[in-house]
């Protein structure tokens, strides 16, 4: 019986939303250099590109199934990645966007392997939030920016500052634990609940933006501006993000200004 002595490793990379255009050189080189690549990308063009860099590519998308609980799907993905590393392979796990943003399996695989003493790292990629800043012309340092996952925002009554920018992720899949092969919002009732919560802070006519960046350079991003009260009727997809601009300007703290000598 042969005993494998080679040390495996994991590098988690993201190839942006529009790949390969938004992929970094760093990510491409890690994909090329790996013994084994596991890909979780959101379109066939991205997968084709990853496959062209390294033929030893398997897709993790096969673990999704209609109605299957996503926790189970993610556990299977983590197992697949970590087993390959334990078998001594230099593994590259590829996600669309940023591998550490809304990407439980990648964080968990890195965490688990590090705990076992294996080399595991994550490299940054371009997330949909990065695209939002560029395409909506938002500077998160101007007024500040709060960013919440929509279901978590509701369940924990996260604080809202109406003077800051607010980004709510996954507004089309509120309270959905499983997977559906449908591009439109999976829970429109959830959208209604979200609006009711936001109306506690913002006026009904406050303009919000339903945003989804384009996954192809040839197509335009979705930018739909609607009054907050009209959100439940807007065309919201499963991948949409909600951007809520500030409704008021935060007052300056005179005492702090004096203390800082401004």
């Amino acid at each position: 019986m042969s005993v494998r002595t080679k040390r495996g490793s994991l590098t988690a990379v993201g190839i942006g939303i529009r790949s390969p255009a938004q992929a970094t050189f760093e990510a491409a080189s890690r994909i090329q250099d790996a013994d084994k690549v596991f890909s979780l990308v959101s379109d066939p063009v991205a997968l084709y590109w990853v496959h062209s860099l390294n033929v030893n590519t398997d897709t993790l998308s096969v673990h999704y199934a209609e109605g299957k609980n996503r926790s189970e799907t993610y556990r299977e993905m983590v197992d697949r990645i970590t087993h390959a590393v334990r078998d001594g392979h230099r593994v590259c796990a590829v996600s669309y966007g940023h591998p550490g943003v809304a990407a439980f399996p990648f964080h968990e695989a890195v965490r688990r392997l590090r705990a076992e003493g294996c080399a595991a790292e994550m490299l940054a990629g371009v997330s949909s939030e990065d695209c939002l800043f560029a395409e909506l012309g938002i500077d998160p340092t101007n007024g500040g920016c709060l960013s919440y996952e929509a279901t978590d925002f509701l369940l924990r009554r996260r604080l809202v500052d109406p003077s800051a920018n607010l980004i709510l992720w996954q507004v089309g899949v509120i309270a959905e634990p499983s997977y559906k092969n449908d591009p439109l919002a999976w829970n429109r009732d959830g959208l209604q609940v979200l609006v009711e919560r936001l109306l506690e802070v913002y006026p009904a006519d406050h303009e919000v933006v339903v945003y989804e960046t384009s996954r192809l350079s040839a197509l335009e991003p979705t930018i739909e501006r609607v009054a907050l009260s009209g959100l439940p009727k807007a065309r919201v997809t499963a991948m949409a993000t909600l951007f809520v601009p500030p409704a008021v300007t935060a007052p300056l703290d005179e005492a702090m200004m004096q203390r800082l000598g401004i």
Binding site: V45, S61, L216
Partner: protein
């Protein structure tokens, strides 16, 4: 060669081709431009998918093309019909 997929990659990495594409779209001659050969050389159906401006239609056409190209290979493209995924609603008490 998967012409549509290769062309989509080109649009993402060749700004001059992207400009030519946008110009043809602006001048409402996109269908003719996309099916021109030499040129993008897409099928009329693939060109219509791109013209629709809907990513799902474009990706569906790309999957159809790639499925033909890779029918004798491994399952490398299995699962790409799923064109979006998202994070679990991770609720820990």
């Amino acid at each position: 060669m998967p012409r549509l997929t290769e062309y989509l990659l080109k649009l993402g990495t060749d700004p001059r081709e992207l400009d030519r594409y946008k110009e043809a779209r602006k001048e409402k001659r996109l269908q003719a431009y996309l099916t021109k050969s030499p040129g993008p050389g897409l099928t009329p159906e693939q060109a219509r998918a791109l013209q629709s401006g809907k990513s799902h239609r474009v990706f569906k056409a790309a999957v159809a093309e790639l499925s033909k190209e890779t029918s004798t290979k491994s399952d490398a493209f299995l699962g790409v019909g799923i064109t979006f995924t998202c994070e679990v609603n991770n609720i820990e008490r």
